[in-house]
């Protein structure tokens, strides 16, 4: 399929091109009813129509021509593109720490895929060195491609594989681990790895990019340099997410894997720590903790890997007119755990009580979190809350809904005893529940206010 001479073309376009004896990557003169065009025939994106062909002009521009108007295609030469990041051997320096970069996908380094017209990841130490040579100033880098999937395709199986790979690399003496990951579900994986890899002696740093590395303005190189530096030289031996602090290329934040969430669909500074402050700031050559209570690096190679997951868990995002059948269907389909993202302090409406009672009776663990994302579940304040607790629903305090989902899956793989599940859920592994929320744990500034605008004028955004 890769050697298809008419890659991406289908239907009418494919027919016309093959009749003319044309092929992709051929340098051609095309005579049409409007006049002559010269260029290279490019492969076509699969989801595009079958009415046009794509031509790259000498100037580098691409244009589309209607196949309907094509009279002749004359091939002058043939030049297949070899899209490859210049690969160079990653230099080894015995004085530098060894870091292992585990690849799961994402756009840390990427190349164009003609089939879909989208960007697909490329990834070897050589390629990375070719694209971001500064990495060699930070550490010795070893890479392993675990899988090449987009963020949304990461799931329990991938969490387990990744956790085991981390364990193996730590035991083999890595000074730090970097995990390249798509950003959409990075916070799910960060939570999963926090539970599955405990008491790590070294930093485990997740990193991705919001602007793919095929753009000059990409955040990928900066993120990668920050992450490698944190893994190689940082003192925080926890699962961290390392992404842009502000949208400027200025510094990154290190977020605790259980308190972090992607908060904007496209901003660079999309990851935020919720209901708390981040662990540290970092740059390609510094890591500066902004709180004292982190786990420090140790010199041993011991780590506890507990990589299990029961995927019969669901998040139910409650909305006012929700019908009981949503819950019923989860019960009937054999789910073992339900995380509710409730309104306000953690509420759902009366019609759901009945199915929820049934769920609890059936031994399903039901957790309550808040869809406000910030703040605690507090079910004592209103009668409705007390009613729900009587049903057996466990208030998960200030655990984020996605984190509760991941943790419940992990806990259920250890036990299905609802009391034990509740106990484990409420015993924090690393910050997924905190005892207190500092005054600056909730900061969503509003633009337009004079004091905020004044602040924005004076600082790099």
């Amino acid at each position: 399929m890769n050697d298809d001479a008419l890659k991406g073309y289908k239907g009418k376009a494919r027919k016309v091109l093959s009749e003319m004896g044309a092929r992709v990557w051929a340098e051609v003169v095309i005579d049409t009813d409007k006049g002559k065009y010269e260029g290279i025939i490019l492969p076509r994106a699969e989801q595009a129509d079958d009415e046009h062909i794509v031509l790259k002009l000498e100037t580098g521009y691409n244009i589309g021509l209607a196949v309907e108007g094509i009279k002749t295609v004359k091939e002058k030469a043939y030049k297949k593109a070899h899209y490859k990041i210049p690969e160079q051997e990653f230099p080894f320096d015995p004085r530098k720490p060894d870091v292992t970069l585990l690849g799961t996908g994402g756009t840390i380094a990427s190349r164009l895929d003609y089939r879909t017209g989208a960007v697909i990841p490329a990834f070897t130490p050589g390629e990375l060195y070719g694209a971001v040579p500064e990495l060699a100033d930070i550490c010795n880098l070893k890479t392993e491609k675990l899988f090449g999937v987009f963020s949304e395709n990461m799931g329990p199986e991938e969490y387990i594989t990744t956790a085991k790979a981390i364990g193996r690399e730590i035991e083999a003496g890595a000074a730090g681990i970097v995990i390249g990951h798509g950003t959409d579900t990075m916070h799910h994986t960060a939570a999963a790895l926090t539970f599955m890899v405990q008491d790590s002696p070294v930093p485990i740093v997740m990193v991705g990019s919001q602007r793919s590395s095929d753009r000059p303005s990409s955040d990928a190189a900066f993120n990668l340099r920050c992450a490698c530096n944190t893994a190689a030289h940082g003192n925080v031996a926890e699962v961290l997410v390392c992404m842009f602090g502000p949208t400027s290329d200025s510094y990154n934040l290190l977020h605790r894997g259980t308190r972090v969430r992607k908060m904007h669909s496209s901003y660079r500074s999309t990851f935020r720590t919720l209901s708390d402050i981040p662990v540290a700031t970092c740059t390609p050559d510094s890591v500066n903790p902004i709180r004292p209570d982190y786990k420090s690096r140790r010199s041993d190679n011991k780590v506890k890997v507990d990589a299990v997951f029961d995927d019969r868990v669901a998040i139910v995002y409650y909305y006012p007119a929700m019908k009981p059948d949503i819950i019923e269907s989860l019960i009937n389909n054999g789910y073992k755990g339900i995380v509710i993202a409730g309104t306000g302090l953690g509420h759902v409406n009366k019609p759901l009580y009945k199915p929820l009672r049934r769920a609890c009776k059936a031994g399903i663990s039901v957790m309550m979190t808040v869809q406000t994302l910030w703040g605690y579940v507090q079910m004592y304040v209103y009668d409705t809350g007390r009613d729900l607790m009587e049903l057996g629903i466990v208030p998960c305090l200030n655990m984020l809904p996605e984190v509760a989902y991941i943790k419940l899956g992990w806990v259920l793989a250890h036990t299905t005893d609802t009391e034990e599940v509740a106990r484990m859920m409420l015993t924090p592994v690393n910050g997924e529940i905190t005892e207190r929320e500092p005054h600056d744990g909730y900061l969503v500034f509003q633009g337009g206010l004079p004091e905020i605008e004044d602040f924005l004028k004076r600082r790099l955004r």
């Binding site: 009415e51 244009i63 589309g64 590395s213 095929d214 303005s217 496209s266 924005l456 955004r461």
Partner: protein
């Protein structure tokens, strides 16, 4: 002073000397960027706007080169990466959103802008593409926060008539405008984002202009054509042109951002001469046996030799210089003094490169040590003789070798030294293809960057291609504005004098004029005068008393003149009402006064001034006539009034 300089350099030149430029092999092409008159930007919904106030926020970014679609790095891109600039963007909350900040993917392309681009492409006789592919054109200078400009070809292979031949239009692209540079100092460059992403068309001609005069003329012609479309923004900064020049034996050099058509002539002329001079330099080098194979140059750190203040002050090198490097160009004696442009020499080519690539922008940034008796390039600056001899001995340079000293922060000084060698070597091989900035007052250009190639193009994976439906195109073709040369002909046929026809052919109300002439039966000459000459005079009169022009909607104008045609408003009456209209009053044109109305008015005036004493009856009649005409608001014929007044007095 610079005006005198410019005058001296330009007054005696015949910029249309076909024989002279023909011998040189002068060829020149244009790349015109013209903003389109849409309300919103090209890929987001921000209003187009121009800001000069304090920014609401700033962001910092860096640019890295990426691979092209064909799998290679672009030369410019790599060069700009060497410069390691910090790029600061100034943001304005009303005119810039997260799209321009490169924090939100593009919205679907502005369809109005696409229609306008199609229309202009058709006016330029271009072959339209059937599917518009949005492409990323890399700019690592920071002028666009994404690091690339989104651009799309709409038409190719067009032409316009000129001097009985065709000037070929290579392509017309629809693209987003870049930022405005506010400041560029050392490793920091500041851009303002207000203009960013404003829709514009880029028109590229083939190098079909054969004298500087022709280049300027075609530039004017294309400008008029776009104004004739009625689809473009007008005013300062809404149009910019890049001019490229080559001569026999040289490659294309691009002069960036020439703001005025008038500057094109001297700039292209002297650019052609610069190229000629560089070819002569190559010859001089070859005559000395310096070829790409025999070229010898190296660089050395001479920082330790700079210890006492005397040496610093003699050399003009600041004591703060962290590193001082010297480049030895073997056997180059005297060649850095080879004149390339009015008043400057090849050393300036080197200094330009060092300025941009190594970010050493405090001039002078190099010091040439050449043992020729005429002395140094920068006047009295140099090294004490003993020190120079000591350095020469140390690095093994003899007196036929030219030394070039460069200084600055350690890394930059080294980058500078390497770049000096690169530029010197290029002088032996070819004229480097580059983009040059201009200094019109001095008729000079200076290095800006290496000319980017097709490798900087990359398909925009964020935007789907847009198919151009045949219906859409034919609809635009049918309602398309006439080209200025077509209009001109038509207006001459209508009996307009040549200069009025010329002005009107590129006037924003040209379409209105044609509609009214066809539909209302108004006199073409009268209407043309009103729309062009009167409008201009009234606007100027307002400006003289510091009043802004009043914007009158085209449909208001249309009903005004239709009304005037129906009522047979006399010329003076029309002027009277039109003046009020353009001063923001709500008026309608009125027809001529009837015989009866005139008589009544005359009687009234006579009665009012009955007691006035006039020395002669003649004065009285003239006075009354003037008074009646004034009160008639232009609706009375002077001859008729005179006749009535005579009868009545």
């Amino acid at each position: 002073m610079s005006d005198a300089w410019r005058k001296k350099l330009t007054e005696s030149i015949d910029f249309d000397d076909q024989e002279f430029y023909g011998k040189l092999g002068f060829k020149s092409g244009l790349e015109i960027h013209q903003q389109l008159d849409t309300k919103k930007k090209l890929f987001c919904h921000c209003p187009v706007g121009y800001r000069n106030d304090e920014p609401d926020a700033i962001i910092l970014r860096h640019m890295r080169p990426t691979l092209s679609e064909m799998g290679t790095y672009d030369g410019t891109a790599l060069m700009e990466f060497k410069t390691r600039k910090q790029v600061i963007y100034q943001l304005y909350r009303e005119n810039v959103c997260t799209y321009e900040m490169d924090d939100t993917p593009p919205f679907p392309i502005n369809q109005k802008a696409l229609d306008y681009a199609i229309e202009i492409a058709l006016m330029l006789n271009c072959q339209l593409v059937d599917e518009v592919h949005i492409t990323r054109k890399q700019y690592l200078d920071g002028s666009i926060p994404t690091g690339f400009q989104r651009t799309a070809i709409v038409g190719v292979n067009g032409w316009i008539p000129y001097r009985g031949r065709k000037i070929r239009i290579q392509q017309l692209a629809l693209e987003e405008d870049a930022c405005r540079e506010v400041q560029d100092r050392g490793h920091e460059i500041v851009f303002r984002t207000d203009r960013l992403s404003t829709p514009l068309v880029e028109i590229v001609t083939k190098p079909d202009m054969l004298t500087p005069y022709e280049t300027a003329e075609v530039d004017g012609l294309l400008g008029r054509l776009m104004r004739a479309s009625g689809r473009v923004r007008r005013g300062i900064g809404t149009a910019r042109q890049d001019v490229n020049v080559s001569i026999t034996g040289s490659d294309r050099i691009e002069i960036k951002g020439v703001p005025r058509t008038g500057d094109i002539r001297p700039l292209t002329h002297y650019e052609a001469l610069r190229q000629k001079s560089l070819l002569e330099l190559r010859e001089r080098l070859n005559n000395r046996g310096i070829t790409p194979e025999t070229f010898k140059a190296d660089y050395h750190d001479i920082t330790p030799h700079f210890t006492d203040a005397e040496v610093f002050s003699r050399s003009g090198i600041p004591e703060s210089a962290e590193r001082i490097m010297v480049v030895n160009l073997a056997d180059w004696q005297g060649l850095l003094k080879h004149q390339t442009q009015p008043g400057i020499t090849f050393a300036a080519e080197i200094a330009g490169r060092v300025r941009v690539i190594a970010c050493l922008d405090r001039m002078p940034n190099i010091l040439v040590l050449d043992s020729q008796p005429e002395g140094m390039l920068h006047g009295e600056l140099g090294l004490p003789i003993e020190l120079e001899e000591h350095i020469r001995a140390e690095i093994g340079a003899d007196e036929d070798d030219t030394l070039v000293v460069v200084w600055g922060p350690a890394e930059d000084a080294e980058t500078g030294a390497k770049e000096i060698i690169i530029r010197a070597k290029e002088a032996i091989e070819k004229i480097p293809q580059e983009t040059r900035q201009h200094m019109p007052d001095k008729c000079r250009t200076d290095f800006e960057r290496i000319l980017p190639g097709p490798d900087r193009m990359y398909p925009d994976t964020d935007s789907p291609p847009v198919a151009l439906a045949p219906d859409r195109v034919s609809e635009i073709r049918n309602s398309m504005a006439l080209r200025p040369w077509e209009r001109m002909e038509r207006y001459l046929e209508l009996g307009l004098p040549r200069c009025l026809a010329g002005d009107l052919s590129i006037h924003r109300h040209a379409c209105l004029f044609e509609r009214l002439v066809a539909g209302s039966g108004i006199s073409p000459l009268l209407l043309a005068e009103a729309l062009v000459s009167w409008q201009k005079a009234i606007t100027r009169a307002r400006l003289e008393v510091a009043l802004p022009p009043v914007a009158v909607d085209e449909d208001v104008l249309e009903s005004f003149f239709t009304d005037a045609a129906a009522k047979k408003t006399p010329r003076r009456g029309l002027l009277y009402a039109f003046e009020k209209l353009l001063n923001g009053e709500d008026v309608e044109p009125l027809g001529p006064l009837s015989e009866g109305q005139l008589k009544t008015l005359c009687l009234k005036v006579i009665e009012e001034y009955e007691d006035y004493n006039f020395k002669q009856d003649r004065f009285k009649l003239d006075f009354l006539l003037g008074e009646v005409l004034e009160r008639s608001e232009g609706r009375a014929e002077p001859a008729k009034v005179r006749k009535i007044l005579k009868e009545l007095t």
